[in-house]
């Protein structure tokens, strides 16, 4: 197990280059919406330069878990949580850390592609810089736009129309634009909440290829309903389950090979073999 201690201080680190990502660790996370408990003391290690897939049936708390990892959970006024999330050993919920800084380091790609429709493609990519008040000169910006669109495997399709509106792209292209936009703020971790569920098979394939290429740059955590996708893209896997009327828990986690090949728990085996869910 890699050490999670001794990471660079979050507050002082400025625009680090993408290089392998950071270790993310969830410790005893519980979550509530109002009085309804949806997650019960869930712990999980997410390693740098690794794709961790979160699988499980609907309503088992995967997305809630993911949203806790970059503090999007609390944007719902009824939501509350317990436990810790350690980014390179530092608790992202500690008052010492600004929420905006946490979200810069832990980016998120949503289920439905959500580019800013009134911004051009290139402004979409650099939107994060604008939002976080970072200035960049023209050539630097152009380099960053190209780099991020290349990483998101979108460059070839849009390089001649960077001034077109982001909303004019197809769904799959929009989702890759959203990935490029997330990469532009140089995150250490990229969270993906069912990024392909609104896309056709071809676009899904492109996104999966993109995920493969990004693995060396950032720590990736992906929620997916698609078992084959989890098997294709991830190295680590966690199986979430919520029994009737009880909050979600992680039944089993480990390497993807193990979860799909020789699961220890019978429920995992039933799920990955399509016997329920």
């Amino acid at each position: 197990m890699t050490s999670v201690l001794g990471g660079a201080s979050l507050a002082t680190q400025e625009v680090p280059s993408m290089g392998g990502g950071a270790a993310l660790e969830a410790l005893d996370l519980s979550a509530w919406f109002g009085t309804n408990k949806v997650l019960d003391r869930v712990s999980l290690q997410m390693h740098p330069a690794t794709v961790t897939a979160l699988i499980g049936p609907s309503g088992c708390g995967k997305s809630t878990f993911l949203r806790i990892l970059n503090r999007m959970h609390e944007s719902n006024p009824a939501a509350s949580l317990a436990g810790e999330v350690l980014l390179d050993g530092q608790d992202i919920y500690s008052p010492a850390l600004k929420i905006t800084r946490v979200r810069q380091r832990i980016g998120m790609v949503f289920q439905k592609p959500n580019p800013f429709p009134t911004l051009s493609i290139k402004d979409n990519v650099t939107a994060g810089l604008m939002l976080t008040g970072r200035r960049m000169n023209g050539p630097e910006k152009a380099d960053l736009i190209e780099e991020c669109l290349l990483h998101a495997s979108l460059w070839d399709e849009v390089k001649d129309r960077l001034d077109d509106l982001g909303g004019a792209l197809s769904g799959g292209q929009q989702q890759r634009l959203c990935i490029a936009r997330s990469l532009a703020v140089r995150p250490d971790v990229l969270l993906m909440d069912e990024p392909c569920s609104a896309l056709d098979p071809t676009s899904t394939r492109r996104i999966e290829e993109t995920i493969h290429e990004l693995r060396d740059l950032v720590t990736i955590v992906i929620v997916t309903h698609n078992m084959q996708q989890a098997a294709r893209v991830s190295q680590q896997c966690a199986f979430f389950l919520a029994a009737q009327g009880t909050p979600g828990v992680i039944v089993e986690s480990g390497t993807t090979e193990q979860i799909f090949g020789s699961p220890l728990d019978e429920r995992t085996s039933d799920y990955v073999n399509g016997r329920f869910g």
């Binding site: 970059n70 999007m72 944007s75 006024p77 905006t100 800084r101 946490v102 979200r103 810069q104 980016g107 998120m108 949503f110 439905k112 959500n114 580019p115 800013f116 429709p117 009134t118 911004l119 939107a127 994060g128 604008m130 939002l131 976080t132 909303g167 959203c178 936009r181 997330s182 703020v185």
Partner: protein, 339 residues
């Protein structure tokens, strides 16, 4: 069955296909309701149209008599057979524009606070308070402006006129070195009259803006937040661009209301028919205040002249509201959002 036979018949003469008639299948209840709603809807259109036709018809004698001069002349002296609305129109537009300049930032920031920052419990209370502002009778706003605001507003007006008189619109014809400053040069002005008007149009502008801000897509807000943006960042990149049509449309709807505001203005201004743009200086006139003030003692030809002024105001308001409607429907915020 029929379709398969049609396929089997293929080798035969090619039959041109045409769209078949499909009955909408409305039940009698639906039909009844549809007709009822259509009648009520048509009534609204007919009433508005009838007002326009009536005003237009009543304007014919005046327009025939004075012709183009009616729009160019600034004096309104029916007893000397001099009638024109240029000064009155200028005053009307000045009051409306100034009211808008005051109401716009207030409405925008109130709407943003309510939709974006206010805690849920406070939100509904604030909304009712703003709506309550719309329920205050305009005569009360007029009294408020006259007795409560005017004594303070003239101080502001004097400061502006003294220190910023190099800006032409802040000029007031008065002796800056007088031992006692001429308060009456600053009262009853466009500026003072526009304050209650601003308060009256604020709820409407605020409600329209609130409506469109609340519709700003959650997915885009979350995108801005997830990139490390602040709440203000999300407002700037998502909410305001999305709501632009509503901001412009709501403002222009409020402008339409401001153009026609009568009682509060009538209470405050003292009539003056000069062609001037000096909002801080005493005296102005607006179309609706003119009509309300002169209506009682008007002879039939004078009444026709007043109604002609009303017709011009009607057209001006219609134009403003139409432009507003175009902005609201053309923008993303006005149409159904699809994302």
């Amino acid at each position: 069955m029929t379709s398969t036979t049609a396929l089997d018949d293929k080798p035969g003469a090619p039959v041109e296909d045409r769209p078949r008639v499909i009955s909408p299948g409305l039940t009698s209840g639906d039909l009844f309701f549809r007709r009822g709603v259509a009648v009520v809807g048509a009534t609204v259109l007919i009433i508005t149209g009838a007002i326009g036709v009536f005003l237009g018809y009543q304007s014919i004698p005046t327009l025939q008599r004075y012709g183009w001069n009616f729009f160019v002349e600034n004096q309104w002296q029916p007893e000397n057979d001099i009638i024109g609305i240029s000064a009155v129109l200028l005053g009307t537009v000045q009051v409306a524009v100034l009211a808008l300049l005051m109401a716009f930032p207030l409405a925008l920031s109130t709407a943003l606070y309510i939709t974006e920052y206010a805690p849920a419990r406070l939100r509904s209370a604030l909304v009712s308070l703003i709506d309550l502002m719309a329920a205050i009778p305009s005569i009360v706003w007029g009294l408020w402006g006259f007795f409560l605001i005017q004594p303070h507003a003239i101080g502001v007006a004097r400061w502006l006129a003294t220190h910023m008189s190099w800006v032409p619109i802040f000029h007031v014809d008065t002796d800056p070195n007088a031992a006692v400053w001429a308060q009456t040069r600053f009262t009853a002005s466009v500026f003072v009259a526009s304050i209650p008007v601003a308060m009256m149009i604020l709820p409407m502008a605020c409600a329209v803006m609130r409506g469109v801000f609340a519709q700003a897509p959650l997915s885009e807000r979350e995108a801005a937040l997830a990139l490390g943006g602040t709440r203000w960042g999300a407002i700037r990149t998502v909410v305001i661009p999305f709501g632009r049509g509503g901001i412009i449309g709501g403002t222009m709807l409020a402008m339409g209301r401001a153009l026609g505001e009568t009682i509060a203005v009538l209470l405050i201004i003292s009539p003056a028919f000069d062609l001037k743009v000096r909002p801080l200086e005493v005296g102005t006139e607006t179309v609706s205040a003119l009509i309300a003030g002169r209506f009682g003692e008007a002879t039939s030809s004078q009444l026709s002249a007043l109604l002609t002024a009303g017709f011009v105001l009607f057209l001006l308001t219609l134009l403003t509201n139409t432009v507003a409607a175009v902005f609201v429907t053309r923008s993303r915020s006005g149409s159904a959002t699809e994302l």
